[in-house]
Amino acid sequence: MSLPDTRVPPGPVREAWSSHKSRMRLVNPANKRGLRVLVVGSGLAGAGAAASLAEQGYAVTCFCYQDSARRAHSIAAQGGINAAKNYQNDGDTVARLFEDTLRGGDYRSREAHVHRLAELSVNVIDQCVAQGVPFAREYGGVLANRSFGGVQVKRTFYARGQTGQQLMLGAYGALSRQVRDGRVTMLPRREVLDVVVADNHAQGVIARNLVTGELERHSGHAVVLASGGYGTVYYLSTLAMGCNATAAWRAHVRGALFANPSFVQIHPTCLMAQGDHQAKLTLMSESLRNDGRIWTPAGKGDTRDPATIPRHERDYYLERKYPAYGNLAPRDIASRAAKEACDAGRGIGPAGRGVYLDFEDAIAREGTEVIRGRYGNLFQLYQTITGDDPYETPMRIYPAAHFTMGGLWVDYHLMTSVRSLYAVGECNFADHGANRLGANSLLQACVDGNFVLPYTLGHDLNPEVGRAAPDTAAPAFAAAEHDVRGRIAALSGSAGTTTPRTFHRRLGAVLWDRCGISRSAAGLRSALDDVRALRQEFHRDVRVVGRADAFNPELEKALRVSDYMELAELMVRDALARDESCGAHFREEHQSPDGEAERDDDQQMHVSAWRHGGLGEPSLHKEPLSFTLAAPATRSYK
């Protein structure tokens, strides 16, 4: 079986979207009422899609696992959202945002998608402001911008350190208005456990009511997955506890291709894990690296109080290795250097997995008050969580899994390889290539949900007008529900000895160690064996207390971990198959003598799209990438 058509319009990339938009089929407003769209997830992409489609007249059902649509994980994004508005008159253009995104992704994304993202960025800001998002302003009343990593213009819009929250609440407001008008049926506390597919055509979903445990069948003319990323597969990540891969993974099992699963962004400045009890890692803004100096003790296993370690016994390793960028080296480089230091036995903290981020010199140079003015809220956040005072003692940080660039393969319409099944936001793979540019995740979610899907879906649904939604009594629904019941029955009440959480932690440790910050063929091969063995052990020995027909977080966890076990294997395979270093994917075999990543544009300039192999092995399909507007360049931060 070959790859489906990407549906990228022929002709010049700059005009692709605008000309494609005017060629797409429309659906008469009266006919939209008869078309039902199921949206899984209520974050910026899902809520945006649900609201925009309902405004157009479609009948929408939206699901989220949280108790309210407003709590989806978009809400936790801190930094900001990019848009090529050029309000700062510093030369920003759509072409520059396009180039920065493409370069940030290390030339492993689809050019036409990236261009569309940059183009539509200007609409997003207009929309959010109109919704009442209180973006930061200048004294004259115009919108303020700040700069963000890896770019030379100020194009990031922000609302203090809670940009995601404010955008999310804007989208939630729009969604709520459609709920009031009866155009969106909102179903919170639902976990979508399967996608119903017949003849490679999405029919609906099977959802579990998390309060009662009841299984529900929902049918629609289209199913939109907006279920976010899968960084929680690492156990410790910056994601919310409930974020999970199940809807996307089950879509994959039902035939949707999964693209670049090993592309995961690791954020270098997260709070260090304090011990085995740690449930998640909190991100600290990267802006801290502007004034903080990163170091470890120069000697192995040095457990002295940092204040008593003399300067000449400290290793400011980023400054040593990257004199030009120093502590501001890009995310992946900073993360890798931290891992190397800890692997060499110089890490700090109880488990030796941490490094210092020290403000001593900045405070000595500029005074406590200046530093307080710059980072006061972050220092307070740090102190709330750790109990340490960063004005007195260095912060203890370590990298953590943050964002997954990989995801369900989609075409230009954001449709997966299963007809009428779409993936938007972090759930798909399309825009970020091998590494995401800072402040582009909120942008992609808003663009996909509000400004792409509402057009492309209409085009694709045009032939469905007049047809009833699939019958939930049809064999495909019965079979899918039967499968879900089987999965639940196999897990609930299982009397093994080990909890799902323990299995999750062990899986995360394998992945983090060998399919995280840096990877090697030997490490990945052993990880593949370990993940498989762990999966078998999980199904043999997991212990899930409680009933399936009740509120049961242990069962929820077990179902999610069960899917992580399968996803992890695919991530490892993908990392092994991608025989180069690119973006966040660093293969130890592919580095220059001084440790820089080496891309292989001759052999590896493609998207890796994986087809689920049923009981057999998954198969890899390579979608070649081409770049017509900018020739791939090599990064250098020395």
């Binding site: 309210s68 508005k85 930061a136 506890m241 750790t386 212990r543 207390v545 009740a550």
Partner: protein
């Protein structure tokens, strides 16, 4: 450290609940409060007992999903923090900690520490937004917003919808929650066109959902994890009275 936990256990909405006692003797003071509950649940699982069900998600104080009474106080002893940002070092070794769900009529208990806060969603759906279709927005800088208004709107918009204000209020009033949203949108020019209808509809829904009125005790502000000011309640009263007055003149 050692702690004795007294936790509200209630298997479902339609059965009575009670406080049950659990002893933990290996709590790390660096654990967050919710990690301590995770640890309890691991211990219960090993014993084959049903896990304590509690709401949580982001664990960094922004999603608003978590929230329990801790020793009679919503979100516990901290100031300006949600339950997930509380750490065990805030408690004495050997202390007894009583953990209960939100106690308010409009937030019925669903299971253990989990309540149904759907009433908040219905209040927002009655008017907590700006009615603008996707695509209908004017150029973002076409309408100027003073820095002060933007900051003031943000202060109110920071509400995470956790429900602590309702839980602590002796009247189970949702005035701080509604006041925050009404203030946020009434402060910005984008939200001003609908300010009257918004205030009237949200207050009407709030009352229909069974939330009580405000008698200005101010406990809501004290327990609010985002320290939303009670001035937003004054603003709500102003917006509501203004809307009533204008309506009576029409």
């Amino acid at each position: 450290m050692r702690v004795r936990l007294k936790i509200w256990r209630q298997a479902s909405a339609d059965v009575p609940g009670s406080l049950e006692t659990y002893d933990l003797d290996d709590v790390d003071p660096q654990m967050s409060f919710l990690e301590m509950l995770d640890h309890l649940n691991e211990t219960l699982a090993e014993r084959g007992e049903r896990a304590v069900v509690f709401d949580h998600d982001c664990r960094e104080g922004i999603c608003g999903q978590c929230g329990v009474f801790i020793n009679g106080r919503p979100h516990g002893p901290g100031r300006g923090v949600a339950t997930c940002q509380l750490h065990m070092r805030s408690f004495e070794d050997g202390s007894t900690i009583v953990i209960e769900p939100w106690r308010a009529g409009p937030f019925p208990v669903l299971c253990d520490l989990v309540t149904d806060r759907g009433a908040f969603d219905r209040i927002v759906a009655s008017g907590g937004f700006v009615s603008v279709h996707t695509g209908a927005a004017p150029e973002a800088n076409a309408v100027l917003v003073s820095k002060r208004d933007a900051e003031e709107a943000f202060d109110a918009a920071a509400c995470i919808g956790c429900g602590a204000c309702v839980a602590v209020c002796k009247n189970a009033s949702a005035m701080l929650f509604v006041g925050a949203k009404v203030s946020h949108l009434a402060t910005l020019p984008q939200g001003r066109t609908e300010r009257s209808a918004r205030a009237l509809n949200m207050v009407e829904t709030m009352e229909a959902e069974g939330f009580g009125g405000c008698t200005q005790t101010g406990a809501c502000e004290v327990v609010c994890p985002k320290e939303i000011s009670v001035r937003t309640i004054a603003r709500l009263n102003f917006e509501y009275l203004r809307a009533r007055l204008l309506r009576s003149l029409r």
